[in-house]
């Protein structure tokens, strides 16, 4: 498994080359927020400023609006026409380890008993090229979530920023194949690998924010009925859906029919447990009060998901902390639980 490297000024050529066969997505801020978009020469400067996207990687696999199928009422009943994502392979460059891990976490759900064709099709056709973080953000706490800012096993290729050069390391078979087809790269030395290792360690040490996940499940279960605690921490929450929509692992959706008398479209939209209507039923709403809704989000991530799939559905990307308009901080909430 040979690793390779490339000079940063050669990246443009590399991306141009890759764009010929498939679509290449790179981070851009041209839209006014940071997200992945098709590569073009004008947005090749991201290496200089890129930290992480505002909208997480999940949006590329589980879009905020998904057309599922069209239906049509004909003579002999309903006719259904499935809409599946296009069979087009894409390379996503600049995936942060936390997001790659998040994709894997929700991947287990989408590939559970029910195999979600939309998510899986896209995942199958995508090659993720990770980009390790040398300078993690103030809000990151990935190190506490069983991950590391610079390292990832959930991508196909992992890049490390070595200053003038980028080091490409293969992680998966898919990645290995891609790397062997990439031109303009030079072989890397063992020195490069150890330098990358040092950089990763340094990055890991830069992470300031920490939470303690030991016995968290049990601790949370014990405090499920601790109304006072949850009321206190949820007091400032505004019940918007920002934290869930920017979260790389939140995956709740709402299925809805857009019908038009005879024909229509079934769509799947993002939904958020923070919305008061999320659990509303004809007679009542089991999560009518705000503290119950806030509690749900953390319990789901740190307890239920762990129970069902053996992993905490949080990767410590820190988006929810950064984007929350009232600064509700998951690390404070978990630390609070641990200290109860």
């Amino acid at each position: 498994m040979g690793n390779k490297k490339i000079k940063k000024d050669q990246l443009n050529t590399l991306f141009n080359e890759l764009s010929k066969d498939c679509s290449v997505l790179v981070p851009t801020r041209s839209k006014g927020y940071i997200g992945f978009d098709l590569w073009d020469e004008n947005n090749g400067d991201f290496i200089g400023w890129y930290k992480n996207t505002t909208i997480p990687l999940k949006a590329n696999f589980f879009p905020k609006v998904e057309d599922m199928f069209r239906f049509n009422k004909g003579e002999g009943g309903y006719e259904i026409k499935e809409i599946l994502p296009e069979e087009e392979s894409q390379i996503i460059f600049g995936v942060r380890p936390c997001d790659a891990r998040a994709l894997k976490i929700i991947g287990t759900l989408f590939a559970d008993t029910y195999k979600d064709p939309y998510f899986l099709k896209r995942r199958e056709n995508a090659i993720l090229i990770g980009l390790g973080c040398n300078e993690p953000c103030d809000t990151c706490f990935c190190a506490s979530m069983g991950a590391s800012p610079g390292e990832s096993q959930d991508v196909d290729l992992l890049c490390t920023d070595m200053g003038d050069e980028l080091l490409f390391e293969t992680v998966s078979k898919k990645g290995e194949d891609l790397l062997s087809n990439m031109r303009g790269l030079s072989d890397s030395s063992d020195g490069d690998s150890s330098k990358a290792k040092e950089l990763r360690e340094a990055a890991n040490n830069k992470i300031q924010r920490k939470i303690d996940t030991s016995n968290l499940k049990e601790k949370m279960r014990a405090n499920f009925e601790n109304r006072e605690y949850w009321e206190n921490v949820s007091m400032k929450c505004m019940s918007c859906g920002i934290c869930t929509y920017v979260c790389p692992t939140c995956h709740c959706f709402d299925i809805h029919d857009e019908n038009n008398k005879k024909d229509g479209l079934r769509v799947r939209n993002w939904d958020s447990c923070k919305f008061p209507l999320f659990t509303r039923m004809p007679m009542e709403n089991p999560r009518h009060e705000k503290w119950r809704r806030v509690r749900q989000r953390y319990h789901h991530k740190f307890e239920y998901y762990d129970m069902n799939f053996g992993v905490i559905a949080c990767t410590g990307c820190g988006r929810c902390i950064r984007e929350c308009p009232v600064n509700v901080d998951v690390t404070q909430i978990i630390t609070g639980i641990q200290s109860l």
Partner: protein, 316 residues
């Protein structure tokens, strides 16, 4: 100011005049503050007043349904007055701790001006009319005016309009309307088609997180029209058209009650310039009906009252 606040807030809790104090506490993110809502005297130590107190806290008294001592800036006081007009907050149930405010620092503006991101900035200090910003070990100065939110540039009421305790001295307004409304003027001067494509572009970004409506102090409905499904006024299917319709209707609903606190734009994670819509309506309402939201708590709300002489030259 901070000490005075702690003292006054402590007194209010101790004397049992209020059940809660709603103020600003230190945030868990650099250069951010976070709403601090408490009924415990010992937590009042964490109250802060600094140039980063961006949140508009006036929504909280509605939810708390209790007597509240609330910290407000000039703009927030207008939201609160609006809520009093809308009968959502009883004036008797709130003790208003007014903070005269010269403007709130927009960290994004600083990032843009000095070309460094928030993680690189170590310290921001106010020195007279300037800010000294320490980033990556070196110092840079920036005029305070260049670092505050656009809405603050055009602020006509820096001192709260309604308060029980004023925590500082009154500040005379120095609104720079031209700068504050620059983006709106630019849009107005565009071609209609360009304007349309501008909004189309912006609303394609919307992810319908409803941050805008949930932080808005004028959006206090128990159920938003967006959640009505008989009939389905706005589709959950978030096309840009539906996103735009949602925001246009929201704009009309808050028109006459919006006092340009700018929270919607600040909350928007994808950076849709919502203030350009809301502030535009503030200007229109002023122009059409000579009405400013949240200036007088006894004024008659603009869209539930009318004058025989209202403008109607647009009616054919």
């Amino acid at each position: 100011m901070e000490n005075r606040l702690k003292e006054e807030a402590g007194k209010l809790l101790k004397e049992g005049k209020v059940d809660y104090i709603v103020g600003y506490g230190k945030g868990s993110v650099k250069f951010r503050t976070s709403p601090l809502i408490t009924n415990k005297e010992e937590e009042l130590e964490n109250l802060v007043i600094n140039p980063f107190i961006a949140n508009n806290l006036s929504r909280y008294p509605i939810e708390l349904k209790a007597r509240v001592g609330i910290v407000v800036k000039g703009c927030d006081s207008r939201s609160l007055i609006s809520l009093i007009q809308d009968k959502k907050v009883n004036r008797e149930d709130v003790v208003i701790l007014g903070v005269p405010c010269e403007g709130v620092v927009d960290i994004k503006k600083i990032e843009k001006h000095i070309g460094k991101d928030i993680d690189q900035i170590e310290e921001i200090k106010r020195e007279g009319e300037n800010l000294t910003i320490q980033a990556n070990g070196s110092n840079q100065t920036l005029s305070f005016k260049d670092a505050i939110f656009d809405k603050c540039l055009g602020c006509e009421y820096p001192t709260p309009l309604e308060y029980d305790v004023l925590l500082g001295t009154e500040i005379s307004p120095k609104p720079d309307m031209e700068k504050s409304l620059m983006r709106i003027k630019e849009l107005e001067n565009m071609d209609a088609t360009d304007r349309w494509s501008y909004w189309r572009e912006e609303f394609s970004k919307c992810i319908r997180c409803y941050g805008c409506k949930n932080v808005c102090p004028a959006c206090f409905c128990e159920r938003c029209f967006i959640d009505v499904n008989i009939p389905q006024w706005v589709n959950t299917y978030a096309t840009w058209q539906d996103n735009l319709v949602f925001q246009l209707i929201r704009t009309l609903h808050v028109a006459g009650r919006c006092s340009d606190c700018g929270e919607c734009e600040r909350a928007c994670p994808v950076g849709i310039p919502l203030r350009s819509l809301q502030r535009k309506m503030v200007e229109e309402v002023k122009d059409l009906f000579d009405y400013e939201a949240g200036v007088d708590k006894d004024a008659l709300p603009v869209f539930t009252h009318y004058e025989d002489t209202d403008p109607e030259e647009f009616i054919k």
